[in-house]
Amino acid sequence: MKPVFLTAKAVTLKNRIITNRAYPLSSFTERVVGSIFSIIFPVFIYYFIFNCHISESFTKHANTMDYLTYIVLGQSVNIIAVSTLMSVGRCMITEIREGTLDNFLLSPASRIGYFLGSYVEQFLRSMLEFSLVLLVGITLGARIPAEKVPIIALFIIFMSLVCFCMAILISTIMVFTKDTYITQNTFFLLIDFICGVLFPVECLPHWLQYISQLMPLTSALKAFRNCILGNQSLQDNWILLAYSSIISIVFLAIGYCYFRKFEKKLIENIYV
């Protein structure tokens, strides 16, 4: 087996055992409950406060009248992002705090293999979380036609990879600033408000729209909704998808290269 995959496999196994022994269900439950509420709140507001009225500008920008499905799609992508960022993004800094990273850095193991391993370990979990949120959404009245399932599956894998790329940059930021709280919450805030999870990006002030284009999730999410809500095909959205891929690769490259370049400084700065 190639060293990258050997490392990835080892990291997956290790993380799996630790997760299973340490907190088998709590974080999973916490996130699922949290995201179900995050659907229920806007939906209730929509039903009971706005009485199912949506503004014209929303309809114009979102290309749909169906706010419920719109938000269910947004939140289900959001949960993949949160799940991936929390696992892959925090994996390394957690190890630094527990004092277990030194031996990894001592070894010649593939660094990208490490990130891949932690990604694979949480992949199924985040898929499960996604499906649960989607099912709750459908129960609440979101309209998702059965024939769209394959395309949803494709999109979800794509989104998950996009989040992986973001997670590597976030991991590097966390590791070198020794901060998790601010970094993580800044990213969650950005994803919630400027990537178009709850409302179309076009409703934002202009300058924020530019920033939102710097997040790879924005265009991916837009393409996703176009295909599910707007009955477009993948081919119709290839520009959005290509754009999202390029930005993702830029995130990945910056995160990974910076990490490799200053890897040795890391041990110097964690003075134990």
Partner: protein, 325 residues
């Protein structure tokens, strides 16, 4: 062979008094112009007080941190430029209990660390069984590490450091927290693999006897500089102007003991009436005088031991070093 030339390490420490102040940068020279060789088949010791720069030196040699200047060659590999080539044939064992996964068992830990070195499944299994047997953990291999005692965790660290069958092993206080029996076994093991498997070993320790027993060559560092080097015997000869003597008599004679205690040039003396023994450190060789005295009192000497103490000479080296600084 590992060759380190003119290693320097300057740490940058950022200090912030208050969150709104700009951080003040301080520089700390932890290692200054250290050169050393580690040959295969030899154990090299690195001695010095706390904060002397031992760990910093070891971390540079093991490619964990980069030197501020200087070169390191591991078997002709430039370890500063190509650390990933060097990493394959070295390993580092440190004292302490962190550094391993407490929720995993010993075997799971070793499986993980072994895979990081690219070992395949069958190689890994063989190597793990071997490493576990060396540190005597085979029986407890499948218990989570959190249930281990401190010494068992330390032994697992040692097994981990051997997992890739390294050509060069760095040991940073490896016997910290290990009981005397295990420590003895470990020292024997280190000696054995050094000779039989032709490995190069660099060892730091605060147990001087350990260094004396194991090391073929010793570097003494203080304030980041090498202040003395040589074999243990060289160091003892160079710096010990003191004599360390041990007498056991066949009976206890108070006036004899009193007379001996009154001899000149004694630095330190321990009298033990129950064992009829005297232990003393003196500036002059007192054997003749003591034999003379004891025959005066018609008291037989059962045993005389003379010792050069590495500890005594180290004290002296460090004192000299500090007075220069």
């Amino acid at each position: 062979m590992i060759q380190a030339k003119n290693l320097n390490k300057i740490y940058k420490i950022k200090m912030k008094k208050h969150i709104w102040n700009r951080s003040e940068i301080q520089y700390k020279e932890a290692v200054h112009d250290i050169s050393m060789d580690i040959e295969k088949g030899k154990i090299v010791g690195l001695l010095g007080v706390n904060g002397a720069g031992k760990t910093t030196t070891i971390k540079m040699l093991s490619t964990m941190i980069s030197p501020s200047s200087g070169t390191i060659h591991v078997d002709d590999i430039d370890a500063v430029k190509f650390p990933f080539h060097a990493k394959k044939i070295i390993n580092l064992i440190t004292g302490g209990e962190r550094n391993i996964y407490w929720r995993l068992s010993a075997r799971e830990n070793l499986e993980y660390f072994g895979s990081l070195y690219g070992l395949t499944k069958t190689e890994l299994k063989k190597r793990i069984d071997y490493c576990l047997s060396i540190v005597n953990l085979t029986k407890n291999a499948d218990i989570p590490v959190e249930k281990y005692s401190k010494g068992m965790k330390q032994r697992l660290q040692i097994a981990r450091g051997l997992i890739n069958n390294p050509s060069y092993i760095f040991l940073d206080e490896p016997t910290l927290g290990i009981d005397i029996l295990m420590a003895k076994e470990l020292r024997e093991y280190i000696k054995r693999i050094t000779v039989e498997e032709n490995k190069g070993v660099l060892l730091t320790t605060h147990y001087i006897a350990e260094a004396d027993e194991l090391c073929n060559y010793i570097y003494v560092i203080n304030n980041g500089k090498i202040v003395s080097e040589g074999t243990a015997n060289d160091l003892k000869k160079l710096y010990t102007s003191n004599y360390c003597l041990n007498f056991i008599f066949d009976c206890y004679n108070k006036s004899l003991f009193d007379d001996i205690a009154k001899l000149e040039n004694i630095i330190k003396i321990e009298l033990n009436p129950e064992l009829h023994s005297i232990k003393l450190i003196s500036k002059e060789n007192l054997i003749k005088k003591i034999i003379q005295l004891s025959s005066n009192y018609k008291c037989n000497i059962n045993q005389i031991k003379t010792e050069d103490s590495l500890e005594a000479s180290l004290m002296q080296i460090l004192k000299v070093g500090n007075s220069h600084a």
